[in-house]
């Protein structure tokens, strides 16, 4: 992989990264490969985030740089783009709660790390989670929430998934600032976390896909 491109993305050099992408294309590089290289830089950022060397702004800015690179490359990529293959994840903020900052960062990081992520949005009713599980057959379901009201919504959502006979087919993670082991037990989830790094660890473990 191009160390220069990776360094530019990880170093938050937006203009430099775009210049490198264009010069790589001019030199005849395969756009699909350039895109994969850029994505690999995002996993480097994810690792740095986990080691607390970078923080949310760098994940957001990295995502933004990726967006620019993808917009440049995608029209040039012929045929089907590489399909995310580490597993399918359905994720959303539970009913009654409209907070999305944490969820969005988790979605971004899972996406760039090769998962097929389906973001159901905010204030998501139980039935919508159940329908998405039936349709998409994810290995992992993520429930997000910031309010204490979300504890009961998470519990009810997990019960709803069980009532639909789907509980054995998925691993369920809950996330958000007030979530801890106690809340995890209360809701009946399989795991919990407070940030994107924790979500990545759980997803890798549950899908059996090393990062």
């Amino acid at each position: 992989m191009s160390k220069e491109l990776s360094d530019a993305i990880v170093g938050m050099d937006e203009d430099g990264a775009m210049r490198l992408v264009r010069s790589m294309l001019d030199a005849g590089a395969d756009p699909a490969e350039v895109l994969e290289e850029a994505k690999a830089a995002m996993t480097v950022l994810g690792d740095k985030f986990e080691r607390e060397e970078v923080f949310i702004p760098e994940l957001i800015m990295g995502g933004e740089i990726m967006k620019g690179i993808a917009a440049e490359l995608k029209p040039r990529i012929k045929g089907e783009a590489a399909v995310a293959d580490r597993g399918t994840i359905v994720l959303g903020t539970v009913a009654g709660d409209i907070h999305d900052i944490g969820k969005d960062v988790v979605v971004l990081m899972l996406d760039v790390n090769g998962y097929d992520v389906h973001d159901l949005g905010i204030d998501v009713p139980i039935e919508q989670f159940v329908a998405a599980i039936k349709e998409l057959k994810p290995q992992v379901v993520g429930l997000s929430g910031l309010l204490t009201l979300a504890f009961d919504s998470m519990k009810a959502t997990i019960a709803g998934i069980a009532d639909a006979g789907l509980r054995d087919q998925v691993k369920i993670m809950i996330g958000g600032s007030p979530v801890d082991e106690q809340v995890c037990t209360y809701t009946g989830a399989d795991g919990w976390g407070r940030d994107a790094a924790a979500a990545l660890r759980l997803a890798a473990e549950w899908t059996g896909s090393a990062s």
Partner: protein, 418 residues
């Protein structure tokens, strides 16, 4: 002899002041920094009804204060739903709003880019005009008319001839509608103030000081939460850091102005400072030192200089920022914590800041009274002698079990009388 309400009032205020000054109080006070819907939910009142019925909301807060042994009369921080409705608030969603949240949901912010990236410099150049013409119309659907008129210098209207210009301008239908919305805002505020004033007077008569007078956000949070959103302010840090800093400076002037104005109106020598985007994980120490800390620290110092005890709520995990917090004026700040490493805090900030809050939501909502008591025991052992106030991570959570909130009182009786 039974103490008079005046004596109780002075005693409770002294207890709080002692804790802030890092002196050992007579007993550990229990003080919700604020309450939202806990007092009404335990009476079976929906969040929708609580948002519109100010009298019931404040009276429920009074009942909860007496029932759960709180040291001060807490501020009920549920913002009035009729106030939101008066201008068609687009920055919030609430129960009872058309197409809004379910009846049992609390009001919630809708973070968005209300100020676009290329407009930030425009705000800095003309904060008044930009706020009037761009921000207010985007904040409320009923204020959209304000976007349609030029904001002339007031001396345009400096004699009776010229005043006709004003008459014509005010007659534009969208502006007339916006002016009507302004009157509705005033009326809604009067309604909630009346119920609030009654509550505060009744609590004073019972010997309870009010918790705080007004809420002031640090300048960075105003810009990030309500102008640019987390994404927007993040991109600004990288793409236009100087303009971002200028906008923060403009908001800092406004914040300090509001600090003094609010104190002049309420006379309450305590102010709440909710903090959002400076928490651990939200930025690096370098970014914190550049974009967040200077204006926050200046706000704390301005508050202390004005004789107002600042009550910052360090929302999120502030363990990574303890070295910064140790720079705050010792014994002057009522520091409230959501999540933090208690032992590290004691080590780094124990002789600078008191310790308020931090009993986890998970315990208060899903735990048992014994778990709550065990947690309080740990807090009293660590901070009882050097300044401790009991509370949840940010007030009493809406869904807290009453028996767990009662457990705080029992815990104080057991090991919090010092």
């Amino acid at each position: 002899m039974t103490p008079t309400p005046e004596e109780l009032y002075a005693q409770r205020e002294q207890r709080f002041n002692d804790v802030v000054a890092l002196k050992k109080p007579d007993r550990v006070p229990i003080m919700p920094l604020y309450v939202h819907n806990f007092p009404t939910l335990i009476k079976g009142i929906s969040n929708k009804d609580a948002g519109y019925d100010h009298e019931t909301r404040w009276q429920s807060t009074k009942e909860a204060t007496l029932r759960f042994g709180w040291n001060f009369a807490p501020t009920n921080d549920v913002l009035a739903s009729d106030f939101f409705a008066a201008y068609g608030n687009k920055q919030m969603m609430w129960a009872g709003e058309e197409g809004g949240l379910a009846d049992d949901a609390p009001f919630q912010w809708v973070e968005d880019e209300y100020v676009k990236a290329d407009e930030l410099a425009e705000f800095v150049a003309d904060p008044n005009g930009f706020t009037f013409n761009k921000i207010l119309p985007r904040m409320g659907s009923r204020l959209e008319g304000l976007g349609q008129i030029p904001l002339p210098p007031l001396y345009w209207f400096s004699n009776s001839y010229y005043l006709q210009v004003l008459g014509n301008m005010l007659g534009i239908p969208p502006l007339k509608a916006a002016l009507q919305a302004m009157l509705d805002i005033a009326e809604a505020q009067e309604n909630t103030n009346a119920a609030n004033g009654k509550y505060l007077q009744e609590m004073k008569d019972l010997g309870y000081p009010p918790t705080w007078g007004a809420a002031l956000m640090p300048a960075f949070d105003v810009v990030s939460d309500t102008f640019r959103s987390l994404r927007g302010s993040t991109l600004d840090m990288y793409r236009q850091p100087d303009t971002l800093l200028q906008a923060i400076d403009v908001m800092q002037d406004a914040t300090i102005g509001l600090l003094h104005a609010a104190y002049a109106v309420t006379g309450i020598p305590r102010q709440f400072i909710p903090m959002h985007k400076g928490a651990g994980g939200f930025m690096s120490d370098e970014q914190f030192a550049r974009f967040y800390w200077p204006t926050f620290k200046a706000l704390i110092e301005a508050s202390v200089d004005a004789g107002i005890t600042p009550m910052p709520l360090f929302e999120g995990d502030y363990t990574p920022r303890l070295e910064f917090l140790a720079e705050l004026p010792p014994g002057k700040v009522a520091a409230h914590f959501d999540r933090i490493d208690r032992k590290k805090f004691k080590e780094v900030c124990g002789d600078v800041l008191c310790f308020w809050g931090n009993v986890p939501s998970s315990l208060l909502v899903t735990g048992t009274p014994q778990q709550v008591k065990d947690d309080v025991k740990e807090l009293v052992d660590l901070f009882g002698d050097t300044g401790l106030i009991l509370d949840g991570p940010g007030g009493i959570p809406d869904q807290a079990k009453p028996e767990n909130v009662e457990a705080l009182v029992e815990a104080v009786e057991e090991f919090g009388v010092l």
